[in-house]
Symmetry: C2
Subunit: 197 residues, 2 copies
Amino acid sequence: MAGRGPKGERGEQADKIIAAARRAFATRGYAATSLRAVAQEADVDPGLVTYYFRTKATLLEAVMQPPEAFGAAVATAAEQPLPLRGRAFVQANLRLWEDPVSAEILRSVILTAAQEPAAMQRLRQLFSELVLAVVSHSLPDAERTLRASLIATQMVGLVMNRYIWQVGDIAALPADTVTDLLAPTIQRYLADPLPTT
Amino acid sequence: MAGRGPKGERGEQADKIIAAARRAFATRGYAATSLRAVAQEADVDPGLVTYYFRTKATLLEAVMQPPEAFGAAVATAAEQPLPLRGRAFVQANLRLWEDPVSAEILRSVILTAAQEPAAMQRLRQLFSELVLAVVSHSLPDAERTLRASLIATQMVGLVMNRYIWQVGDIAALPADTVTDLLAPTIQRYLADPLPTT
C-alpha cells in the first residue's frame, strides 16, 4: 500500500479514500473513474487523494490489496497435512467471505479485475501466491501450477455464484454444508492423480 | 427477441444494434449505456434503435439471448446415459466457448449480468433451464436444484478463468485436456452421493 509514512499516520482519510475507490472501481469501472470522482465519493478534497496516492495506478494497487486475514487464513490451511488440506482451504475461503468487511474487499477486487487489465494482472499474482501456497511444494512446477489453476476454477465459481451473483442453491446453504459439498473436489485437485500428470 | 416482424425482415440492422449493445453493456455497464450510445456504437440512427427495440429493457432481453446452439448442445448432452453425461456436458460447453461468435455472446451475457440485476435475473433463468436439463429428472426437486447449482459453480469458474480472465494453466490447455480434468467433478455433482442428500 502506497502512502506517506506508516498506516497510523495516514489515518482515517487514506482508508476512506481506498474504500471509496473500491466502490467506484467495482461499480463504474477503473477506466471510467477519475481521481476527482473518488475524492467526491470519499467526501475529501481532490488534493488529498493526489497527496496520498499520487496516481490512479497507485490507488488501484491499494484497492487490490486483499484483506490481511486472507493471506493468514490460506497460510494456515497450507500447513495442514495433505489429506485434510482441501477441506481446510475451502473453510478458510468461506470464513473470509462470510465476514462482511473482507467480503466487500474481495468482491471489489474481483469486479474491478473483470474490467481492468492492470487489476487482472494483480489478481493473477494473488492466485500465484495464495492458491499455489496450498499445493504440495514437492511436486514438479508444471503440476503445481496446473493443480492451483484447477482449484482456482472451483473456488472462483463458488464465489461468483454464492457471493457475487447470489444465485442457485449454493447461495442459500450454510457455510458448513458448502464445505462438505466442495471439499472433495478441492481435495481431488490438490492430491488425486490427474489424467495429464 | 423483440423486433417487428420475423428475423429476415428486421435484417442486418437489428443484428448490428444487438451486437453494438452487447459490446456497450459488457464494457461500460447496462446502467451507464443510453440507447443513443448504442446507436452511435452501431453507427445507425437513434430512431432505428427505438423502432426495433422500443426500450432499453427490450434491448437487454435481446442481448441476453444465448446462442441457439447453446441450448441445442446442452439438450444433446442431457440425452446421454447418466454415466457419460458429465463428460458430454463439459464437452458441449467447451465447444460453444471455443467458437468465437458464441463465446462473444456468452461473454457479454456474463459481464452484463455481473453489473445489472435485470440481466442477472435473466442469467438465473438460463441456468434453471439449461443446467437443470442435464440433471436426472427422476430425482426430488431439492436435490435436482442443488446438483444443478454445484455444476454451475464449477462451470462458471472454468469459464471465468479460461475465457473471461484468461488466467492460469487452465486458460492455455487444449479443450480435450480440460474436458478430461473437469468431467469427473461434473459427474460427481450429477450422480454421486452428496453429503446433504
